[in-house]
Structures are given as C-alpha cells and as structure tokens.
Symmetry: C2
C-alpha cells in the first residue's frame, strides 16, 4: 500500500453506544471516491493515554492522520491540550474563532439555562501556536492542521465536518499523496449481481459496487492519469442501462413538475406513507405536492380515493385493477396532474401462492392524458427493503415517464414485468 | 481501567464507505448496558498484516478480543486462516456447520446463477482445531472462541451477530471480568438538559444520557453488587416523569387498540407521512390502522378530511382550529375511533413572527366521546428532527390519553403548552 489516511474518532458517547459513528463512513466514502486510500479507523474514548498512543502509532506509518472529536469547550475535549503536550507547543486563541465565540457568548448569556463562563467557552477557540486553522462555518471550534506530521483535527459533529471538508481536502491534496483516477456511476433499479453481469471486462479497471435500496452506485478506479479510459467506459456502461443512470429521480421529478407547473399526489397501501415521507423530505416541495392518502384498510380505499368495491371484491386489494383505481382516485381527490399508487404485501404475513409476500403493484396516472399504467413487481426482501424498493421503483418509473416515456423494462431484479396500459 | 473488550471490525466494504459500520454501536451499547467496558474499536481492511498486527497489539492488553467479519467463503475472508497461522493451529470442519453447508449447497446448486464449488462453500464451515464454535442460526459460518487469548470471532452481518449474541455474552461473562451494576430508564418527551436538572444528586452513581428523537434513555451505573440502590433511584426518577417512562408508546397504543377493538387514523401535513410510516413499520398493524391522509396542500385538507375553508381563511392551515378539524375529519373519513393530526411549519421557509419555523399543532380526536384536543409545540431543530419530535410527541400523548388520561404537561423542551379541549 502507498501512502494513505488514518482516522482517529474520539468520543465516549460513541464508545457507550449512545451515538452511531457515521463519520468513518463519511470520510471513507469521500476518500474512496477521490481515489485516496483509507488505511484504518480507530474509535476510542476521550482518554489521554489512548489518544496519544494512537497518534504516535499512526505517525510511524507516515500516513496522514485525521482526528475527529475533542474540539469542544468541556474538560473531556482533549485534542488541543494533547497536541500541545505531544509537540511541546502552547495553545493560542485563533483570532477569528475567538471573535465569533465572544459574540455568541454574549448573545447566549441572556439565556440563563445555558450559561457557561467565557473562559470555558473560549477553550474551543484555541489551537496550538504552530497550527494552521481550518475554518468552521457551522460551529465555533476551528479545525487544526499541523503540516509537519501531517495531522488534521476536525470536530465530531457531522455538519461541522462537512462545512470544513473542502478546505480539508485541499490540505490532504497538498501532501502530494498519489491517488487513483475514479468515476462514480449511479444506476437505479438494478441489483448487484445483475449489474456485475453487464460490466465490460477491463483488467485495468477495479470495479466497486455499492448496493443501495434504489439500485447501485458503481465505482470505477484505475491508475492515475487514466481518466480518458474511464470516460469511455462510463459511456459504454450507461448505454446498457438507458434511463437508469440518474443521481436522484425524485429530485428530477420535482424539478420537472415545478418547471411545467404540474402537481403530484400519492396513494399508498403497503408502503404506508413512505413515498409521501420521502417526497416531503425535500424542502419547498409544497409547490408541487398536493398530498397523499395512506389507504391501509379497504374502506379507506373506497372512502378516500373512491376505489369501486366491486374491484376489491373481484380482484382484491392487491391487484393491478386496484392500483390503477387508487392512482386515478388520488389524482381526482387531490386534483393532481400525476398520481402514483402502491398496493402490495409487505409481510411477514398475508402472502399466498398467487400473491406471495413481496408482491407489489405500482400504478401511475396522468390526468392530462387519462393514461394509467401499472407495473407488478416482486421484492421478497423483508418489510423494510420491500418498501424502499417499491418507492424507488416508482420514482424511477415516474421520472422515465416524464422524460418522454423511455420504454422501460423495469429492470429491478426479481421482477415480473407486466407493465401495460389499462385505459 | 480494568479489563474490558476490544473490537476489531474487518471489511474493505466499510473502508470504502459502501457500508456504514453499525456493529461498533451494537457491541458498544450492549456492553455498556451490561456494565462492561469497551476500550477501543478498530475498523480495518481485509488485509493480512493489518489484521494480525491489530490482534497482536490487542492481546498485549489482556482485554477480551472480539473480531467481526472475515468468516465467509471467499478468498478475502481471512479470519480462520490468520488465526491458524497466529496460533500454529490447523483448520477443521465444524461438524454442524459442515452438515448445514452441504445441505444448503445442494439446494442452491439448482440455482445456476449462484453456483460456487462445494470446496469454496465449505471454507466457511472451518474453525481452528482448538477453537470452540459459536452457533450461528442465521448464516452458515460458526463463530469462534479461543479461550487462551481470549478471542471471539463473529461474522460481519448484523443479523448473524444478533443470533449469536446470547452465547457470546455467556463466553464473555465466563471470563470473570468485573462489571458495573446498571439500569436503563427510557423517558419520553424530555430533553437532555431538562432530564439532567431533574436527576437526584448521587455521588455513587454515574449517569449517562442518550438523547433520542423521542426523548432520552437514561443509564445508571454503580459499583458491582449495588443493585438495590439502583432500583430505589429508578423509582425516584420515574416518579418525576409520570406517564413518560415507557419503552415504546406506539407499541402500547397498538396493543391497547387491538385489545379494545378500536381503530386509528392519522391526518398529516408538516410530518408528510412520517406518522403513517412509523405506524405501518409494525407488522400486523392493519388490524388497527385504517389509514391516513397527507394533506400538504390546503385543497387536500378540504377535499380529504373536510376542513372548513372558513377555518383556513380565518386561522390559517397552521392553527389549533385546523389541527382539530383535521383530526375530526380523519376520524370521519376513515371511520376510525381515534385520529391524530399534525399541522405545522417544518421549514426552512414559511415561518413568521407569530408562527416561527418549528411550530406544530398536534390534534387528537376520540370519536367515541367526541373529545378533541390540540397541543401547540415549538421544535426549532431543523426539518428532520422537527418531524421526528412531532410524531414522538403525538404518540406519547395518545398513549397517555388511552391510559386513562394522565394529566400531561407536554414536557418536551421548547414547548408552549396550550393543550385544551376544543369541544
């Protein structure tokens, strides 16, 4: 292995299991995507001996050290003091952080419940005298860069780390560590093994596949400077998955609907509100999203979106006909241009020979043209993955439809494609 | 520090950022709750030198080593071979795992797409000859226990680890490591600083507070054998939060409604389907849950749950009156006994002086008695936490109501309690 990066995550709240460490994955995925090598991540307590021992062991490897945590104002925030002890340095106030801390302290002093002394508050404005500060635009504590090691200290809060990440990457890049040429290709609606079977043989390329609820993120890595080869391969691979290589279909859908002044509604049964939840995760979506119904019970399907009781009697709630009626009814009830519906069997109970657990019918209705389509799928992956896959599949299909109706073969694995026009 | 546990998590998929390591938190929270001390967790590649160096360094500490990952059938699953190399041992087939692997291999052989050789498949049935196997009821690879180190090897898949955890804990316990007496108290609807201000002074107790979207999990730790003291303190603390020390109000609500043959519905605006999603996360909830509406647009509030346009005109969608009308309308439209409603401002836009971002009205209607209640809250924590806090708050209130209406002071921090009967 060549030179790389080693992480040290400090925090007793992680070691007690109170906090899930998501920082390792953030650093790991960012570094991997940029072609760097992450060698190791150690999660340890806010403990003097443990921290110093880890730093010293890391320094012997010659890799870049990235430490996360321990930059706050409390006595268990040890990073600055330990760095000074280690390097024989003294702490000084970083001017910009000192100014911000004093400003916030004065505002906060009015809020009696949070009063700490100004001396305590200013602890987080300190850096070792020889250090170069890294600007933190979210929190008060600056990051720390010590070129001679090289050592980078960042806070533990993910939001703060993200606000400092561009500058941090610049510092890492300036170390001249060689990095692989890389390319990331998102491909919706495909499983890991299915994707692998479509990849061109390429001995000079390392493939990495990150399986996600909506499909896969494909990583290509090759020798530094081999970027043209990556661009060529990317085009070849994307051509095998027409209409599927998109970063986020839902965002595309919302942008398209906004631009065209169209509106959206959903009718959900087995997905139980997950589609509406994901849509409303996007700030500002109220310009487009009229609303949704979660018609869990059959009466709800009749009462809220006017599904004909005859359809439920003859075909059942989990049927192509019911999915179509739900989409049409949602568009009508919510006066929406486009409506998406879901009806299926999330499990663990309720399956049958003809309609096993994991069966889902996804409907889409376009009120402008009167077109209704229904796809039938089988996602027998357990309740949570079933619901995630159903929603991802629907958003991909809706995006393709709005794009001008790329002929879709609903490529998710374990599917049974019966997409057809019902009207 | 006394003796404890050290974790080694191996897996290049974690080091590439493809997989979020949740195992460290699982081990950490389990061990903490039982009074053990987790000293360190190292996440490393499937790399011979790195793994061996980590094990050797760990062994020098005298702590119990728990390794996760590297037990599968592929060539980058190194745990068994490296253990044998380290200990001068040879691998043998563990009889039970061998039998299961052969059985599954024969069934799987019919599925051409997954064919691997039986020799490859059997790699995961191996353990070092001196090892004691740990039974894996989910996957095929047995766990490994080497008493002389002591060393425990588990797979990387969380489901498999969980199936082996009880036996693993027995092995850890048999090492005679001293552990603190502990007690866990869930308290809904309270923030971290508010909880701390209510805790009795107790120099013999270490408090740990795990803040969660719904409130806090409080951990008490004290010297071994001091269990009676913990029971006494637990009663004191629980008495300060009447009706709030409950593991999961939603599960209690559903159990209560099932037993009483009552039904539930929700009407959501700002929470956008999150309440319905959480309700339908529970398998078998269809016996109780009629469904929900996500009335994002004002027209949807009128069309789906019959909110009087006059209410919207005079009081606005984010109002006590609208929340009440939504709950009543949802109970009516979905023929439910109990309905819960949400209307508020998730942000980042849409706030005003009178109704800042984070304002939410939560309504509850009981169709049996005609009672409607509305609480007004302020959760100015950003979009995601706002939604989680709103839903948690509603479930706690509904549970308290069904319990016989414990007089609630809606204790979540940053609240403005205006709960009152509207009918």
């Amino acid at each position: 292995m060549g030179k790389g990066v080693r992480l040290c995550i400090t925090g007793s709240e992680v070691m007690n299991g109170f906090v899930l460490d998501k920082n390792t994955q953030f650093f790991a995925s960012e570094l991997y995507a940029l072609g760097y090598e992450l060698k190791e991540s150690r999660v340890i307590h806010d403990d003097r001996e443990q921290i110093l021992r880890t730093w010293k062991e890391y320094r012997e490897t010659g890799d870049i050290i990235v430490n996360s945590g321990g930059l706050g104002p409390t006595t268990d925030d040890l990073t600055v003091d330990l760095l000074c002890e280690w390097l024989g340095d003294t702490p000084v106030y970083e001017k910009h952080a000192e100014k911000r801390t004093r400003y916030f302290f004065e505002r906060r002093a009015r809020d009696q419940t949070r009063a700490i002394s100004i001396e305590t508050a200013l602890r987080q404005a300190r850096i070792p005298s020889r250090a170069q500060p890294i600007r933190n635009t979210v929190g008060l504590a600056p990051g720390i860069f010590i070129p001679e090691i090289p050592f980078i200290a960042l806070p533990g809060f993910p939001d703060e780390i993200k606000s400092m990440w561009a500058e941090t990457l610049g510092l890492i890049e300036a170390q001249g560590v060689e990095r692989a040429a890389t390319q990331i290709i998102p491909i919706w609606g495909v499983g890991e093994s299915q994707l692998f079977s479509h990849l061109p043989e390429a001995p000079d390329i390392t493939y990495g596949v990150h399986a996600l609820p909506w499909g896969c993120r494909l990583f290509l890595r090759t020798a530094p400077g081999n970027g043209a080869r990556l661009a060529e391969l990317t085009a070849v691979i994307q051509a095998k998955f027409p209409g599927q290589s998109v970063a986020d279909p839902l965002k595309e859908i919302v942008a398209h609907l906004k631009a065209e002044k169209l509106s959206l509604a959903v009718a959900e049964s087995c997905t139980g509100g997950l589609a509406a939840k994901q849509i409303t995760d996007l700030p500002g979506v109220s310009a487009v999203f009229k609303g949704g119904v979660v018609t869990y019970a059959n009466e709800a399907k009749e009462a809220l979106v006017g599904v004909d009781p005859e359809i439920l009697r003859r075909h059942g709630a989990v049927s192509r006909e019911c999915a179509a009626a739900m989409a049409e009814g949602a568009a009508r009830a919510l006066a929406a241009d486009i409506a998406i519906s879901f009806t299926g069997i999330a499990g663990p109970d309720g399956g049958s020979e003809a309609k096993p657990v994991g069966t889902v019918f996804i409907g889409m209705h376009d009120a402008r043209s009167g077109i209704t389509r229904v796809g039938k799928f089988l996602f027998p992956f357990g309740r949570e993955r079933f619901r995630n896959a159903s929603v991802a599949c629907a958003f991909l299909a809706a995006w393709q439809y709005l794009q001008g109706d790329i002929p879709t073969v609903w490529p998710l694995s374990h599917y049974e494609a019966v997409s057809k026009k019902l009207t």
